[in-house]
Each structure stands twice: as structure tokens, then as C-alpha cells.
Amino acid sequence: MKIKLKVWRQKGPNAKGEFKTYNVDHASPDMSFLEMIDVLNGELIRKGEEAIAFDHDCREGICGMCSLYINGHPHGPLQTTTCQLHMRTFKDGETITVEPWRAQAFPVIKDLVVDRSAFDRIQQAGGYVNVNTGGVPDANEIPIPKKIADEAFDAATCIGCGACVAACKNASAMLFVSAKISQFALLPQGQVERKERAEKMVAQMDAEGFGSCTNTYACEAECPKGIKVANIARMNREYLGAMLTSYEVGSGGGGE
């Protein structure tokens, strides 16, 4: 099949970017979208033009490294990661526009590569249980209702790709942050630090410059792992409860 690709090219973080149009004449419907770019890159190199830079790693939909805003959707028209999107999704002769994630907190590094380290910093603010290696109780000491364990898993399945931010008109990271807060709010292991966790992670999210959720639910519609906005409601609950009742008098979380 033949494809016309409009791709965002940008030399570096401070360079001005622009769209460039390429023709891919030998795409196969069985190719993944990234393999199609691989093929194009091979052709570009042979022509002496630098390959298009894009993030990718596992190519099986779990590492969360691939991104790309394809024809107006993060990860393209299907609710999967870009690496799991195949060319059979597109029509022969179609023009496909490929852009990087856009958000103040995700600056473009080169071409389609963006900096998502803000997500790591939010996790560092409290996305864990404070236990040292060793000296923990037996794994079966605390029974957890299956429903609760399953719901915690559903939240924990987030791959941190940033599609929620890319999809949101406010570049809000709340689906991402709420997934982690939910996981630990549900599990008994997370109870001890429940309040501080909500406060600190939200504060870091705000400090990174992500927007507020206005409940359009674009994130849920685009999330490749099907994370639910019910998690955002839970985060709202957790945060509000924490701010109103935690013992910390000084600034707990939020604000600028």
C-alpha cells in the first residue's frame, strides 16, 4: 500500500520545527506503524537524509516508551500503543499526520521524541510504599479481597506512556497520577502513607506544570491500557480527604 506521511521534524529542543511530507510506497498492511517508519528511515538514510527520531523499545505494548500523535489521536486511531498499531488500520493512499506529544511539561527533544521525565519525578514524590528490602511479613499474612486486588491491578497496569496528557486539552496528568494513587489507596499495604502520598504526588504534578482535569474523559478514551476515570474521582477523594485531615500543618500539597 502507498502512504503519504506528514511528519514533524525538529532538529533539537530549541530549534524551530516544521512538517515534512514523505511518500512511503511499499508499506505492507501487516507492518506495525513503527516498522513502517523503520522502512522510511532506511530509505531516508540511503538518500542521505537523517532518520526520523522517535521513542520506542519493547514493541509489544508494555514498556510505554513509544508515543506519536497520529491523525489527531495519541497512539493513533485504535486504543493501543503505537507499536501495536498496524498499517491495515489505514487506507491505501491515505495521508497520515504524525506529531509529537504536545504539553508544556513534555518538551520536544528531537523530531517526535519528547521528555517525559516529569512522570518519573511525580512517582518519586510518593508512588511507592516505604519498605526496606527484608524484614517484611509473610506474603499471605494480609488477605486482600479478590475484587480489591483486581481493581488495584487495573490501576497498576498503567504504562506511563503519557497518552492521557497528550489527549487532554488541558495537558492534565491526572489519569496517570490517579492510577498510582488508586493502586495504593485500594491495597492494605498503601494505607499507612495514604494521605501523604496523595498530597505529595499532586503537589509534584502541579509543580511540573500539568493542567487540571475538566472531566472531558479524553484520557480514558485514548488510554492504551484502559485506565478508568473512576481513578481520578478516587484521587480527588483521597486528596481532598488528605488535605482536610492530615496532621501536617505546613503545606502538604498543591498550590504554586
Partner: protein, 238 residues
């Protein structure tokens, strides 16, 4: 011994969490949700009052109601809270919008294809339309009622301002009725998203209650603005 100055400083320090709460991304939304829900309650009461306009009694019921609303001390207090909440709702909306715009970054997308509903994405525009209406509306009725020269009418022993006539006159202007109706459409769309959205923001999202919230929200967002709009249309055609 600690001085008064010290304890004041402590008080300020003690309140910092509150300021942080309401200036955080989540807290801002909570302000929107709480004030929004209050305004929804207000709309209900307002509608009940307005419906008195349709009573065929030469405006007595409506005028008595208007008098009650402007003279009962409890209602008066609540009305000041209501004004404040309107202001909060508007000011916080502006702050939110500015913050959200800047979060999106300088470079936008060339193409966006979204599956979200229109009203959810355009709450700001809808709100602005409603705000314009609100200004005209306040000037027309609330302003007249409080500061204008309104003729009096006497019911029994009580002398009350005849707001009914002001309304009836205003609703003879086709353009005002049109503006009123269009604004009600904006309010309907605003509520279509806003009603259920407020519950989500306050953390009320539960598979047992979501259907009820959504259903009531949709019904409310259609019925209430429709009834509001019905009144001037009926009075125009009378």
C-alpha cells in the same frame, strides 16, 4: 511569652494549607464543583419563583415571592453567599482556563480528533455566553429591583414592588426573549456537562450511583433551562 504578632504569624502559617488546597489543580476543580452545585440549587429555587409569572393573578404571586426573597434575612444572607459563589465560580474558571492553556504548551496540534462531547470541551465559551447574559439579566431585573424606580402595588396590607410588570414589559421585546432563550440553551449545554462533572470532581463516582447522577443531570439540564425559556416565550405570545 509569645506576642500577638507571633500568634498572627502562626495563624497565617496555619492557613497556608487551605490556600494551597484551593490553588492546587485539584482544589481549583473542587471550588468549581462546589460553587457549581450551589448555583444548581439556586437555579431550582429561581425557577420555582419564575413559574409564578405564569400564574393568572395579575402578578400577585410573583411580586409577593420577589418581596419575600429580598426581605427575608435568611434568604438575604444566602443570596450574598450566592453572589460570592458566582464570583468564585467565574474567577476560578478564568484562573483554571489560563493555567490549562499554558499547560498545553505553545505549539498546538495540527490535527485533533477527539471522541469527547462538545459541551465538555467548551465549558469556558458556554460560561462566557452565560456571563454576558447574566450581566444584561442582572441589569434588567435585579438592578431595577434594587436600585431602579419600580412602581408599587398593594396586596392586602402589604405594599410591594411590582417586578411583574417590569418582567412582562421586558418579555414583550422579541430580541430580549430571543437572547433569553439562546442563553438558556447555553445553560443547558453547560449543565449537560457540569452537573455530573461536579460529582466526579468531588470524588463521587461509584457504579451504583453513577446512572442516577447521570440521569438526573441530563434531565435537569434539559428541563430546567426549558422551563426558564418557556416563561418569556409564553408571556411574549400572550
Amino acid at each position: 511569652m509569645r506576642s500577638i504578632f507571633d500568634s498572627h504569624q502562626n495563624l497565617l502559617l496555619n492557613m497556608k494549607w487551605l490556600i494551597d488546597l484551593f490553588s492546587s489543580s485539584l482544589g481549583r476543580k473542587v471550588v468549581m464543583a462546589l460553587t457549581g452545585l450551589f448555583i444548581i440549587l439556586f437555579l431550582t429555587v429561581h425557577l420555582i419563583g419564575n413559574l409564578q409569572l405564569l400564574k393568572d393573578d395579575g402578578g400577585e404571586a410573583f411580586n409577593v415571592y420577589a418581596y419575600f426573597m429580598t426581605h427575608n434575612p435568611l434568604i438575604k444572607t444566602i443570596s450574598y453567599v450566592n453572589y460570592a459563589f458566582f464570583v468564585f465560580h467565574i474567577v476560578w474558571a478564568i484562573m483554571l482556563t489560563r493555567k490549562n492553556r499554558s499547560a498545553r504548551g505553545a505549539e498546538g496540534y495540527a490535527i485533533t480528533n477527539t471522541s469527547t462531547i462538545w459541551s465538555a470541551r467548551n465549558m469556558g465559551i458556554l460560561g462566557t455566553v452565560i456571563l454576558v447574559f447574566l450581566v444584561i439579566h442582572m441589569r434588567q431585573f435585579w438592578g431595577e429591583m434594587h436600585f431602579g424606580t419600580v412602581p408599587f402595588k398593594t396586596y392586602g396590607a402589604q405594599e410591594v414592588k411590582d417586578l411583574y410588570t417590569i418582567c412582562a414589559d421586558a418579555f414583550k421585546n422579541w430580541w430580549y426573549v430571543a437572547l433569553y432563550s439562546i442563553s438558556m440553551v447555553a445553560i443547558a449545554f453547560h449543565l449537560w456537562h457540569g452537573f455530573a462533572s461536579a460529582f466526579q470532581t468531588l470524588g463521587i463516582n461509584h457504579s451504583k450511583y453513577n446512572p442516577v447522577i447521570n440521569f438526573v443531570g441530563k434531565v435537569f439540564s434539559i428541563v430546567v433551562p426549558a422551563l426558564f425559556a418557556l416563561i418569556p416565550i409564553v408571556m411574549f405570545t400572550l
